[in-house]
Symmetry: C2
Subunit: 441 residues, 2 copies
C-alpha cells in the first residue's frame, strides 16, 4: 500500500475536522483510491502541545513550529489551516520550495498572494488546491473551473459569507435590528468578537476575487474589488424590499461589462423568484450564468469543521490522482494556465449600470415629491416603483421608497448628491443596488 | 498545435449544440487547454446527408453509418449523441475496441449497460465520460463523484426530469389538470408525443441509477429502481399539499437503509422550507447529504442543446487532460474502480419507511372517520395531520386528507388494502410518499 503523508498546519476546528474524516472514513477513502493507496497524518503544527485533542495523536509528530512540517522530508502534502497572510505565506513558500503539494482553506492568502504563489508552484511543479477557500463544503471551484469549462461565463453571483446571510435572514424577524442580531450571532459563534471581516464584506471580497479569476480567466485582483458591508442595512429596508418582491442579500458579484470586468461585494435586492433569494441562514450559494449552460446554482454550508474538511480531503484525493501528471495536463489552479490569463481591466464601481433601491425620510409637505422627482428627471433617472408611507419614528416625515430604472452609478451618485442637499430630506438617503440575476425585470 | 479529433454520432439538437460551442468559443477552449491543444470535429454520423445544418460542415466528413465514425483511425474521441440502447451500444463497443475515448449523453445506455461498458473500457484503457447523461448542464457527476469524495453520502434526491417538473409546476395554476398541462408541454416541445419515458419516471430512473452508483459506489442496477410516474397526481393533491406546507415533486431518491440501499422514483411531498421545493418549471436540481459536508444542492437546466452540449464539451476537455494518465490515477467512471464497488442489496419498496400523504373520498356520514382511523390504529399507523372538506365533485362525499407518521411501506399497504375494501370509500385512496430531506419534521 502506497502511503501519502500529510503535514497539517493547524489542528483547530478545520484541522480537527479533517483529521476526524481520516480517522472515521479511511477505508472509504482507500476504496476511492483503488485500494492501493492510503493517507496518513504524519506531522502537525499546533499552537499548544498540551492542548486536548478530539483525535488520537499518539502516532503523529507534533510541533509548535510550522516550518518543521513544511520542511519535513516525510511530508508529501502540506495542508494549511492556520489562516493569516504572513506566517502562512512564508510556510507555503517554504513548502513549495521543498516540492510539496499544498491544500489550503486560506481565502485571504489566495486572494491577496495567489498570483505569486501559483507562479512559484508552477516553477516547482507542485499543485496548490484551495476548494475549501470558497463557500466551504460546496465544490464550487471544481464546478466552475471544470464543470462549466465549455462556457464563457457572463456573470457569477453568490452569497459567500454565512455570517452576513444569517444576520440578514434574522433581521426579518419582528423587532430585530442589525445590532441585536449581530450580538446573537456572536453568542452562537457565527460571528467573531470583531465582526468586521464578515459584516463589512472583506471575507466575501476574498472569495469573490477567487471566483472572478476562475470564471473569467483573469489574475487575482483583490485590491480592485468594490466592497460595501451590511451594517447600514436596516430592518425597515428588508421589509420594504420584501413588499416590493425582493430579498436583500449580501452578494459577491463578478460580471462582464462592455469596458471590462466588474468585481463587487455589496447588499443587493434580489427578486424573490430567483432561487438564490430563498437561501437563508448561514447557508451559501453561488450562481453562474454561462453562454451555453444558462443559469446554474450551487448551494451548501459555507463554513464549519465538517464542510470545510470535506473540501480539504477532496483536494487531497484530487492531488493524489493528479500528482504524477505532467503539469500541462493538470487542471490549472485558476482554470487557465498563468500564461493564458487575460489582462482585461476591472471597471470602477462608477461605471456599472443597475437598478437601485432608494429610501429616504422626507418632510411631509406639499411639493417635496415634485422636487425630488424633478432632480431625478433632470438626470434621466426614472422611477419604476414608488412607495410612500408615514415615517414610524417621526410624525413630520414620510418614508419614501423608490426603485429606479437601469442607470449608470456615477449618474445616480450625482442625483444622490443633489438630493442629499435638499433641506426637506432628513439624514442620508439609503441606496441599495438591485440585480435581477437573469430574471426578466 | 496538438489536434484532438472528435467523431460525433448524431448532429441533432445536442450534436448541433456541441458543434456550435466549438465553432463559437474554440479560442476560449484552446486557452483552457494551455494554448497548445485544439479540438476539431473530424467525422460525423447523421441520419440524412442532405439535411440543412446550423453549422458549417464543409470541412467535416459526414456519413450515415455510425460504424464509419467509431472505426475511423483519425478519430480520437467518440461523442455519442444518437440515443437508444442497441445501435448505440454496438457503436460504443466498437469505439472501445478501437481504443477511442467516449463522451456520451445517453442515460439509458449507461444505466442499463454501463457495468459491461465500463469493464470493457477499463480493459482497453479508454475513458467513458457521461456528465451530460444526468441533469443536463449541471456538473452533477463531477460534484458528487469528485467534489464530495471525502463523504459517505447518506442520501441523494433530485428533480431529474424537467418535463415532469414543468407539468407539476403548471398544475398549480387555476383550472389546470394533468392532461391539459401535458398537452401544452407537448406543444412547447417539453414533452414527447409519447410522454411515457418522462411522465412515468423511466427517464428519471435511468438518471437515479447513475446517481446511486456514484454516491454509494455500487454497480448500476436500473432493474432494481422502484418507479412510479406522476400521471395519477391531481391538481387537488397539489393544492392540499401546499395548504399543508409541501410541494409535490417527482423525485429520484437514493438512500442508505439499515438493510441495504433504497433506489426509487416517485411523486413526493417535500416541505416548502427545503430549497428543492422551490425548483420550478423545467429546471433540475439534485441534493446530496454527506456525513461531513451536510446538505448541498446543485441546480440548473436539465435538458436542451446548450446545457447538454456544455456538459459534453466539458467532458471532452476532461478527457484531453486525463488521457495520458495511468488508469489507476484517473477518476474512475463510477467514482470507485470496478473492483472496489460494493455489492450491497437494494431493498424492496416494501421495506422503506417514510411518512405518507393519503387522500380519499369518503361517504359523508357518521362513523366513517372512526372506522378509517380505527383500521389505521390497529396497525399502529398514526395520523399527524388531518384535513376534511366537502368533496367538490360529489355532494355526498367528503374529501379526507391525512398525513401519517413514519411507517413501514408494507404496513401502510396492508392498511390501504383494508381501507380500499370499505364501502364508505369511493374509488382508490391516493397515496404519496413524504420526504423531509433533512428538515426537522
Amino acid at each position: 500500500m502506497k502511503i501519502v503523508r500529510l503535514g497539517l498546519l493547524g489542528l483547530g476546528t478545520v484541522g480537527g475536522g479533517a483529521a476526524k474524516i481520516i480517522e472515521d472514513t479511511l477505508s472509504e477513502i482507500e476504496r476511492r483510491l483503488g485500494g492501493k493507496t492510503t493517507i496518513r497524518i504524519e506531522h502537525v503544527a499546533v499552537r499548544d502541545l498540551n492542548c486536548q485533542r478530539a483525535i488520537d495523536t499518539s502516532n503523529i509528530k507534533l510541533t509548535t513550529n510550522p516550518m518543521d512540517v513544511v520542511t519535513d522530508p516525510n511530508v508529501d502534502i502540506v495542508v494549511e489551516l492556520m489562516g493569516g497572510t504572513t506566517l502562512a505565506k512564508d510556510c507555503l513558500e517554504a513548502a513549495i520550495a521543498n516540492g510539496k503539494h499544498i491544500v489550503t482553506a486560506n481565502k485571504a492568502l489566495i486572494a491577496e498572494q495567489g498570483n505569486a504563489l501559483f507562479a512559484k508552484a508552477a516553477e516547482k511543479n507542485v499543485i496548490i488546491a484551495y476548494e475549501a477557500a470558497v463557500a466551504g463544503g460546496i465544490p464550487i471551484i471544481k464546478a466552475l473551473r471544470e464543470g462549466l469549462s465549455a462556457n464563457k461565463i457572463e456573470w457569477a453571483a453568490g452569497i459567500i459569507n454565512g455570517t452576513g446571510n444569517y444576520i440578514l435572514t434574522e433581521m426579518k424577524k419582528p423587532g430585530a435590528d442589525f445590532a441585536k442580531v449581530l450580538k446573537v450571532a456572536q453568542e452562537l459563534g457565527y460571528a467573531e468578537a470583531d465582526p468586521t471581516f464578515d459584516v463589512e464584506g472583506i471575507d466575501a471580497a476574498h472569495k469573490l476575487t477567487i471566483i472572478a479569476s476562475i470564471v473569467f480567466g483573469i489574475p487575482l485582483q483583490f485590491d480592485k474589488v468594490f466592497t460595501e458591508g451590511i451594517s447600514k442595512v436596516t430592518a425597515e429596508d428588508i421589509q420594504f424590499a420584501e413588499q416590493l418582491g425582493y430579498q436583500i442579500k449580501h452578494l459577491g458579484m463578478a460580471s462582464r461589462t462592455k469596458t471590462g470586468f466588474s468585481l463587487r461585494v455589496h447588499p443587493t435586492l434580489v427578486p424573490n423568484s430567483v432561487l438564490l433569494a430563498n437561501v437563508n441562514g448561514v447557508m451559501n450559494a453561488v450562481m453562474a450564468q454561462g453562454d451555453s449552460v444558462g443559469t446554474t446554482m450551487y448551494y451548501g454550508p459555507g463554513a464549519g469543521a465538517g464542510p470545510t474538511a470535506s473540501a480539504v480531503i477532496a483536494d487531497v484525493i484530487d492531488i493524489i490522482r493528479a500528482e504524477d501528471q505532467p503539469q500541462q495536463d493538470r487542471v490549472p489552479a485558476l482554470g487557465f494556465a498563468l500564461d493564458q490569463l487575460e489582462d482585461a481591466p476591472v471597471v470602477s464601481i462608477d461605471d456599472i449600470e443597475c437598478k437601485y433601491y432608494l429610501r429616504c425620510f422626507a418632510k411631509n409637505k406639499a411639493g417635496v415629491l415634485a422636487k425630488i422627482t424633478q432632480i431625478m428627471a433632470d438626470k434621466s433617472v426614472s422611477v419604476e416603483k414608488l412607495h410612500q408611507e408615514p415615517c414610524v419614528n417621526n410624525p413630520n416625515d414620510a418614508t419614501l421608497v423608490m426603485l429606479t430604472n437601469q442607470v449608470n452609478e456615477a449618474v445616480l451618485n450625482s442625483v444622490l448628491a443633489e438630493l442629499n442637499l435638499l433641506e426637506e430630506i432628513d439624514g442620508e438617503i439609503q441606496r441599495i443596488r438591485i440585480e435581477s440575476l437573469g430574471e426578466a425585470s
